[in-house]
C-alpha cells in the first residue's frame, strides 16, 4: 500500500444532516414507526459508525440515506440539498455481496462509469489503480463466485470507489466473513479510509468492529430507531489490531458502548425479543470475564 501517487480524481467529501426523520410502514390503523424523530449528522471526512441491536431499523436508515425510500416526515440533506432519490454521490456497499454474478471483477468495477457513459482513459487508469489497491489485479477476469468472501467485499469497495462518491454507506459489509478475514478487512478498510479522507458511514452490530473503525459511534435505540448516544473515538490513526487490544482507552469506549447497548437490549428483552435475550446473555458472559 506504499505508493499512492497515481493520478486520481479529487475526492469531494459530503456531509449529511438528518433532522427529525420518521419512517413508518403499513396502512393507517396498523401503522408502525420504525424510525421516529431521528436526528444526527454524518460529519465531513469522518468515519461514522452506527451500531444498534439487530432488527433496530438500521437498514431503514440506510435506505433513507441512499434515497431508495423517502421519510414519512423530517428531512435528510446532503450538503444542504434534500436527498430525493438514489445517486452516485451516496453509494451503498451491501450486506453479503451485491456484485453482479454475470460480470467479471473488472466489468463489475467499471459498471458505474459505463452506465453513465463516462469511460475515459482516466477512468480506465483509475480502475487499474483500484484493482491494484484492492489486490485483485490477477482476478480481473474472474466471476464473483470464483472469489473468496474477502475478495468479494474488496471488489465491491472498488466498484463503489470508482464512482468517487461524496459519501460511502456500508451496510454491515463484513458480516458473514470468518473472524480472521474480518479483522484483516478492518485494517484494510480503515487504511483505505485514512488515505481517501472521504466521508464514510458504516453500519454494524459488532462493537469491536465499531471501536476499531470509528471516528464517532452512533448508538441506536431499539425500534422506533433514535440516536441513543454518540461516542467520540479519539484513538490515533492508523490503528492496528495489536494497538487496539492493548489500548485502555479503546476498552473503556468498548465498555461504555456495551453498557448503553445492554440497557437497550434489556428494554426490548422485556418486550420479548429473542435477539435481545441472546445479547443480554453474551453481555453477561463478557462482563464476567473482564
Amino acid at each position: 500500500m506504499g505508493e499512492s501517487s497515481t493520478p486520481r480524481p479529487l475526492i469531494a467529501s459530503g456531509e449529511i444532516v438528518v433532522a427529525g426523520v420518521s419512517k413508518s410502514y403499513g396502512a393507517a390503523a396498523f401503522q408502525k414507526d420504525v424510525v421516529r424523530d431521528c436526528s444526527f449528522t454524518i460529519e465531513r471526512g469522518k468515519l461514522t459508525v452506527m451500531i444498534g441491536p439487530s432488527g433496530c431499523g438500521k437498514s431503514t436508515v440506510i435506505r433513507l440515506l441512499a434515497g431508495f425510500e423517502q421519510p414519512s416526515s423530517g428531512s435528510l440533506k446532503l450538503d444542504g440539498e434534500p436527498i430525493k432519490g438514489p445517486g452516485r454521490d451516496r453509494l451503498v456497499v451491501f450486506q453479503e455481496t451485491a456484485l453482479f454474478p454475470w460480470m467479471t471483477t473488472y466489468d463489475n468495477i467499471l459498471y458505474g462509469p459505463r452506465a453513465r457513459g463516462e469511460v475515459t482513459p482516466q477512468t480506465l487508469e483509475f480502475a487499474e489503480f483500484l484493482l491494484n489497491k484492492v489486490g485483485l489485479q490477477d482476478f480481473r477476469r474472474k466471476y464473483p463466485t470464483q472469489l473468496s468472501g474477502g475478495m468479494q467485499r474488496r471488489a465491491e469497495l472498488a466498484r463503489a470507489m470508482i464512482n468517487n462518491p461524496e459519501i460511502m454507506i456500508l451496510d454491515e459489509p463484513f458480516r458473514g466473513l470468518d473472524a480472521m478475514t474480518k479483522e484483516l478487512m478492518w485494517e484494510y478498510y480503515s487504511g483505505l479510509f485514512e488515505e481517501s479522507g472521504r466521508t464514510n458511514f458504516f453500519v454494524t452490530t459488532d462493537i469491536d468492529e465499531a471501536v476499531f473503525l470509528a471516528d464517532r459511534i452512533l448508538i441506536m435505540s431499539n425500534i422506533p430507531t433514535q440516536v441513543r448516544a454518540v461516542l467520540e473515538v479519539d484513538l490515533p490513526r492508523p490503528r492496528t489490531l495489536a494497538d487496539m487490544v492493548a489500548s485502555d482507552r479503546a476498552n473503556q469506549i468498548k465498555m461504555e458502548a456495551l453498557s448503553i447497548l445492554h440497557q437497550e437490549a434489556m428494554k426490548s428483552f422485556s418486550r420479548g425479543s429473542k435477539a435481545a435475550a441472546d445479547f443480554v446473555e453474551a453481555y453477561n458472559k463478557r462482563t464476567a470475564n473482564s
Binding site: 441512499a66 431508495f68 432519490g85 438514489p86 445517486g87 452516485r88 451516496r90 453509494l91 451503498v92 451491501f94 451485491a98 453482479f100 454474478p101 454475470w102 460480470m103 459498471y111 458505474g112 452506465a115 453513465r116 474472474k142 466471476y143 464473483p144 463466485t145 470464483q146 466498484r159 464512482n163
Partner: protein, 289 residues
C-alpha cells in the same frame, strides 16, 4: 480433475447400463418370457384363478428383439424416405421452438418488467396455459391454412408456455439489491434492462428452453400421428418420425416401430445436448464455480 473422473467411471457405467438393458431385452424377446424364464407364470395362474383374463400380464414376446430391430434399421438407413422423416420432424421442432423463443422471451420479459402488461397479458396466458398442446390439434388443423402450419403451431405451443413462465419467474427473482446498486451508480432504465435484467434472466431462459425442447419433441410426434403426417407425399415415410411410427404400426412392421422410437430418442438427445452446450456458452458465470 473432477471432469476426468466423471468421464471414465461414469462412461463405463453408462455403457454397462445400456448393454444390460439390450441383453435382457434380447433374452426376453427370443425366449418369449421375461428374464428368459416364465417367472410370471404363478402370477398369471393366480389371476386366472381370481377370474381375470390370463393375458393381463404384458407380453414381451410381442416385442421384436434388438437384433431384429437393428436389421430393420439397416434396411431403412439407406432409404431417403427415412431420412426425410428425420428432416421433417427436426424442421417442425426447430420452427416451433425458434418461434416460441422469439415470441416467448420478449413476451415474458414484458410481463416481468411492466406491471400494466402483466395485468392485461397474464390472466389470458394463465387461462390458456393448462390446455395441453395436443388438445389444440383439431382446432389448429381447422384454423391454419396448411397441415404443416398447424403442426408447427402445436409444436410452438409446447415450448411457448414453459419458456414464458421461466422468463417471468427468472426476471422476478433477481435480487432487489442489484437494481438498487445499479440505480445508485447512475444506470438508466434501459441500461438496467440490458445489463441487469437480461443477464439475470438468462439462466432461467436456458432452463425454460431445455424443458421446452423436450416438450416440443413429445408434441411433434403426437401431432404427426394424429394429423397423418401433414405431408402430401404420403407413402411409408413422408411425414416425419411420428408418422413413420404410425405407418409402421398400420403396415404391421413392428421392427420399424422400434426403429422410429429409438430415432426420436436420439433426435431428442442431440437437440438437448446442443441446447445444453449453447446454454453453458451464454452463461459462463454458472459453470465456473
Amino acid at each position: 480433475m473432477a471432469a476426468q473422473k466423471f468421464n471414465t467411471t461414469s462412461l463405463a457405467r453408462g455403457l454397462v447400463s445400456i448393454l444390460l438393458f439390450l441383453v435382457l431385452w434380447e433374452i426376453g424377446s427370443r425366449s418369449k418370457h421375461w428374464l428368459g424364464a416364465d417367472i410370471f407364470g404363478p402370477l398369471r395362474e393366480a389371476l386366472g384363478a381370481m377370474g381375470f383374463k390370463k393375458t393381463y400380464i404384458p407380453w414381451i414376446g410381442a416385442v421384436p428383439a434388438p437384433t431384429e430391430v437393428l436389421r430393420a434399421w439397416v434396411d431403412v438407413i439407406g432409404d431417403a424416405g427415412y431420412w426425410h422423416s428425420w428432416y421433417m420432424s427436426s424442421f417442425r421442432v426447430a420452427a416451433g421452438f425458434v418461434a416460441a423463443m422469439l415470441i416467448g422471451i420478449p413476451f415474458g420479459l414484458m410481463l416481468a418488467v411492466n406491471r400494466t402488461a402483466f395485468g392485461i397479458g397474464f390472466p389470458v396466458f394463465e387461462v390458456l396455459r393448462p390446455i395441453p398442446p395436443l388438445a389444440w390439434v383439431p382446432a389448429s388443423i381447422i384454423f391454419w391454412p396448411t397441415q404443416e402450419m398447424s403442426i408447427a403451431f402445436v409444436t410452438f405451443l409446447g415450448a411457448f408456455y414453459t419458456i414464458v413462465i421461466n422468463v417471468v419467474g427468472g426476471a422476478r427473482s433477481i435480487d432487489g439489491r442489484y437494481f438498487q446498486a445499479a440505480q445508485s451508480m447512475g444506470s438508466s432504465r434501459w441500461d438496467i434492462f440490458r445489463r441487469i435484467i437480461l443477464p439475470g434472466t438468462l439462466p432461467s431462459i436456458v432452463v425454460g428452453s431445455a424443458v421446452g425442447m423436450g416438450i416440443t419433441w413429445e408434441v411433434v410426434v403426437a401431432a404427426e400421428m394424429i394429423s397423418g403426417g401433414g405431408s402430401q407425399i404420403g407413402g411409408t415415410s413422408g411425414g416425419g418420425l411420428g408418422f413413420f411410427i404410425w405407418n409402421s404400426y398400420v403396415g404391421g412392421s413392428y421392427e420399424q416401430i422400434v426403429v422410429g422410437m429409438i430415432s426420436i430418442g436420439i433426435a431428442g438427445f442431440i437437440s438437448s445436448e446442443l441446447l445444453r452446450s449453447l446454454g453453458k456458452y451464454v452463461t459462463p458465470w454458472l459453470r465456473l464455480r
